[in-house]
Symmetry: C2
Subunit: 311 residues, 2 copies
């Protein structure tokens, strides 16, 4: 018999996920939180920012699948059993969305859209001679699935690419670095810095006043990773001084971003509401079903999160 | 002996072009308008919006090379001898810039950036669930070098593509149309319409009230072709009614766009200062030199404009 799965996200549409999963396994027992029914039936959960207290209700939970790439919210749950398997989605649709988001905003920074918008507000024709992309250096922090896909797209657009990751990577067309010294190297050569890092103890507060000061004067910053990677007050100071000319932020230490936060009305900040990418039901359904079959058959899971690394 | 070339553009840097051309032919006689010296020496001209009266000063002019793709400004010169050869640049650098501009703004429209900016102005977290690119239909008007490169990039980003051109084309992954009926087909299926058409008698005023009415309600419009393809009052009416939700415009009937023009302050218009793309000296120099050698040797020119078609 197939395991029963509980869906818990107020950000995603349960019907889409139910339909996509049942298209593969018509008899799937798919329940939507908080309607758990016989809680002891539930062996797997498909979650995004699940409510605290939920895990405690599920005595037979064996697998939690995160509806996305960043799993830090799951580990924030103090009730999470230490031996519970956590997997994440590695969704080609989500990867495409993230790399498109990165490309869109790197291009907007490269083409000086904030400056052009200021000129437009003043009804002023401000001809800016476009520079070849090859003369613009883009630094990518994080070279996992999302970083690699972004690098490939930015490479096709002709940008000069630098990359940084915890463990050293080799990527065609990207000058790859790792470690503390490597980070300094990438920061100091990034006309546009893109952060796609997961949130772990070692990435928390990684981008602080010293990091921003390392970047070239007038550099731009794009964060589509996690908010707590950035010391927000330090970023604001770097924006106020003009050392960082613009920041495009999809993620924040507190989400939704509080109405009184300075980011909202800062002229050098573009806020997007943590919607750079979401897992798509149709393209993700096969790997969810795959993990449910592995659970049924006792085989090893795929896309398992390394809890010691935190991603 | 190599032909002498006259450079005439206030939008481009003569030094860059001289250096790029002399890197290939060190002895090249390169003059910059209005310093023509012995005007009878000059056999070729490299121009962008050359001043009226210039051509009359050059009794031995045999070739005009346009510093870009759109040649309509050259044909606006009443002194242009009917048998003078006009060539244009087909520059890979410029093609890359145009397709990047198109991708940037198609993505911005797809991701509803104007709506997100409005929300930001109100310090309002407006979560918009991102839609897969495949569910967004992009129509491309013009399938020459620039249109084809744009289609390729948009295809990689996953958009559903429709294309229209004067003569029927076949492009992988693009539903191609031509003729009057074909235009209606493309307009009616374009969630985002991108115009890259050259300005000719048959494209002048092509996009009028009827054309905009054909588009789906809430469609977006991007013009990186020529301003006079659009009846600007009709576009403004379509934006005022909300039938067209946003327009991104790089080109205008009058450039620079006059300070009093309604486009500047219209909340549903993004103005860029005709800088979507420029020919790059380094990547274009070989084809300019090629045409100069052809002039010297009496061989047929490359990238010649068909004066009856107007492009």
């Amino acid at each position: 018999v197939n395991p029963c799965i509980l869906f818990a996200s107020v950000y995603d549409k349960p019907d889409e996920w139910r339909d996509a999963l049942r298209a593969l396994v018509p008899s799937l027992d798919f329940r939507v939180y908080p309607d758990v029914q016989q809680a002891e039936d539930i062996e797997a959960a498909l979650v995004w920012r699940h409510p605290l207290g939920m895990v405690k209700q599920l005595p037979n939970l064996k697998l939690v699948i995160n509806l996305g790439a960043g799993v830090n919210h799951i580990f924030d749950d103090p009730d999470l059993p230490p031996d519970l398997t956590v997997a994440r989605l590695v969704d080609p649709g989500q990867t495409a969305q993230i790399s498109a988001y990165v490309a869109q905003h790197v291009l907007a920074m490269h083409r000086q859209m904030p400056e052009l918008r200021r000129a437009q507000n003043e009804s002023r024709w401000n001809y800016i001679h476009p520079m070849p992309a090859s003369e613009c250096r883009v630094g990518l922090l994080g070279l996992g699935n999302l970083g690699r896909a972004s690098a490939e797209l930015l490479g096709r657009l002709g940008f000069s690419l630098f990359g940084w990751s915890r463990t050293q990577r080799e990527l065609a067309g990207v000058s790859c670095h790792s470690g503390v010294d490597g980070l300094q190297q990438v920061l100091s050569q990034s006309d546009i810095l893109v952060c796609l890092l997961p949130l772990t103890p070692s990435t928390t507060d990684l981008l602080d006043a010293r990091a921003f000061a390392r970047m070239p004067k007038g550099a731009a910053f794009i964060n589509a990773g996690r908010g707590a990677t950035v010391v927000e007050g330090d970023l604001l100071a770097a924006l106020d001084s003009g050392h960082i000319r613009h920041a495009v932020l999809d993620v924040f230490r507190q989400e939704p971003l509080p109405a009184e936060h300075r980011f909202w009305q800062h002229p050098a900040v573009t806020v997007t509401p943590h919607n750079a990418a979401v897992a798509e039901a149709r393209s993700s359904a096969p790997q969810v079903i795959d993990n449910l079959m592995r659970l049924r058959d006792g085989r090893p899971f795929i896309n398992v999160v390394d809890r010691s690394a935190g991603y």
